[in-house]
């Protein structure tokens, strides 16, 4: 800029090659440029908070926010020592719910793919659980309340609704109902890729129904089963509201609820963060496995 005449002359000489260079750069920059807004949002609201969480988890209580934070690994030893039962409860409930999903979801998906013509209706009604576990648990609670709409039926069957309400089976059922569509989706996709002729061939060759399942259907739908199971397991690890509304104190000892209490009621940010990191590590591990077994939503 200091020597306008010089720049002018050089620009005239270099202009064509510079333009082509710019074109080449523009081609390479457009892709990253288009993805930039997404990257900024993710870094601001996901990457930075998670890094912050890791740092806070290594500090004592809320000392990170004072002038001299106390760095320690005590939070993690507390989590794996005093709160080990909570980790176990979290994993146990999620495992049970995913098993319930598998046992009831597999036949559902099979019948849906092979027999049912009113699939649109099924798909529409299966949307209700996806509105979230809150309404689900809330609704189940109304079903089972002493003066609820099903009370006459339950009385007739001799079932005591209140003992049913605050119990582990009910909690597991509530969790399973939320993730049921995920299991049906994964298993259904796998099963619809299995040629029905294979089953008929097995039948013609004298296989019994259970043999058709163990020797033909199960091996061919294994990837769907694994993906569905892990997806349900991953969702159920983060369970929060179902144990609160349908479970007792034993079921409420899951990581999500405990970290909410520690963090937002007792302001022990260090411990709450450490619990969050443990929960996240569990969930990411499961998700990583499930993405390996499924083709992935993006087919990647």
């Amino acid at each position: 800029m200091a020597h306008p005449t010089v720049t002018l002359s050089t620009r005239e000489a270099v202009a064509p090659s510079r333009a082509s260079l710019w074109k080449r750069w523009k081609g390479a920059l457009i892709g990253p440029g288009l993805i930039l807004p997404a990257a900024i949002v993710t870094i601001l609201f996901s990457v930075i908070p998670l890094i912050y969480l890791v740092i806070v988890s290594f500090t004592e209580e809320s000392s990170f926010f004072f002038n001299n934070p106390v760095y320690t690994t005590a939070n993690y030893s507390t989590v794996f020592d005093r709160y080990l039962p909570h980790i176990q409860t979290t994993i146990r409930l999620a495992l049970l719910a995913s098993l319930v999903n598998l046992v009831f979801g597999y036949p559902f998906a099979y019948i849906l793919v092979r027999r049912v013509r009113y699939r649109e209706l099924v798909r529409t009604l299966m949307v209700f659980p996806l509105f979230g576990p809150l309404y689900l648990a809330f609704g189940i609670r109304y079903v089972l309340l002493p003066n609820g709409p099903l009370a006459p039926v339950l009385d007739f069957l001799g079932i005591n609704a209140t003992t049913l309400l605050i119990s582990e089976p009910m909690t597991v059922f509530g969790m399973a109902m939320f993730t049921f569509p995920f299991m049906v989706m994964n298993v259904g996709t796998a099963l619809s890729n299995v040629d029905p002729l294979l089953e008929e061939a097995a039948q013609t060759l004298g296989a019994k129904p259970w043999q058709i399942f163990t020797r033909v259907l199960f091996p061919l739908s294994r990837s769907g089963i694994l993906a569905g199971f892990l997806m349900c397991f991953g969702w159920n690890l983060g369970v929060f509201v179902v144990p609160i509304l349908l479970g007792g104190t034993a079921q409420q000892r899951v990581l999500s609820i405990t970290l909410h209490q520690k963090g937002l009621s007792q302001f022990d940010y260090g411990l709450a963060s450490a619990m969050g990191i443990v929960l996240m590590a569990l969930a990411f591990g499961v998700t990583w496995l499930s993405l390996r077994f499924s083709r992935g939503a993006l087919g990647a």
Binding site: L130, Y135, V143, G238, V241, S256, G263, A272, A297
Partner: protein
């Protein structure tokens, strides 16, 4: 599908033939679950209509448009704002992922999906700490918006990517050959063809943000209580018909919108996403 039909019987089928019983049981099993899916919504609605002295009344719906009105309005506002921001973020990103070479695409994709796989409570505590001590936006509308956008735009990305991959490049090439520049081609040719995919993304965002309460519980304050969070807070204090009325309204609105979407576009673009 036609292969699945049973071989034609050479005899007249009896009403109680084993095959018929088995088919009946299979349909009954499907219907049992369908009833279970709808049951919580139905009982919530019934409870909301219950009058204190017996009988049915619409009395509790006065609360929905009375003291819960602010919560509902906030929910609608934040949902609409999230959808608009998501569109501005997801459409360019999907376009870049499908049509442009990017170094380290797989790594970037999995980083973008980070928030999707984070459990709600972890996202909640991390954002609560960050908002309070780093960004200084605790309990604000902006904070809610940031959390919702980062949690849902990956879900909007998926159907748009699927739609873009299905779109033959012929349309783009034809428009370019006829002299349209990149922007014109995109807005006049490609964007309209992506309609169903984009609508699917909007539906997914709506269903999740409108009903989200867990992350909200960590980062919302008294002035930023969404309707879903209000339902959660009310369930902690009791099981009044007015709470049921709010929950029923939320589910009803969500269901109607899903229904309209299915009737208009079908469910093709929702495959492999959060909804079936």
């Amino acid at each position: 599908m036609s292969a699945a039909v049973a071989p034609t019987p050479t005899y007249r089928r009896a009403l109680l033939a084993p095959r018929r019983i088995s088919a009946g049981l299979q349909h009954a099993y499907i219907w049992l679950w369908l009833v279970l899916f709808a049951l919580p919504f139905v009982t919530t609605t019934l409870h909301s209509l219950r009058a204190p002295e017996g009988g049915l009344t619409l009395e509790s719906y006065r609360y929905v448009f009375g003291s819960f009105k602010e919560n509902l309005l906030l929910s609608v506002e934040v949902t609409v704002a999230t959808i608009v921001l998501n569109l501005f973020i997801a459409i360019p990103a999907a376009y870049a992922i499908v049509r442009h070479p990017i170094p380290g695409k797989r790594f970037i994709l999995s980083t973008l999906n980070l928030a999707l796989y984070t459990p709600g409570a972890v996202m909640g505590i991390s954002l609560a700490i960050t908002y309070a001590f780093l960004f200084d936006i605790p309990r604000t509308f902006v904070g809610l918006l940031g959390a919702y956008v980062v949690g849902t735009y990956p879900l909007m990305l998926v159907p748009i990517i699927v739609a873009l991959r299905d779109l033959p490049r012929v349309y783009e090439e034809a428009a370019r050959t006829l002299g349209a520049n990149r922007l014109t081609t995109f807005f006049r040719v490609e964007l309209p063809l992506l309609g169903p995919g984009i609508s699917a993304g909007i539906l997914l965002t709506f269903v999740i943000v409108f009903n989200e309460f867990l992350v909200t519980l960590f980062i919302a304050g008294p002035n930023t209580t969404t309707a879903a969070l209000r339902v959660y807070n009310l369930t902690r204090t009791g099981f009044l018909p007015s709470t049921a009325a709010l929950a029923a309204t939320m589910q009803f609105v969500s269901f109607i919108i899903v229904l309209v979407f299915f009737k208009t576009f079908g469910s093709r673009y929702l495959k492999g996403t959060y909804l079936i």
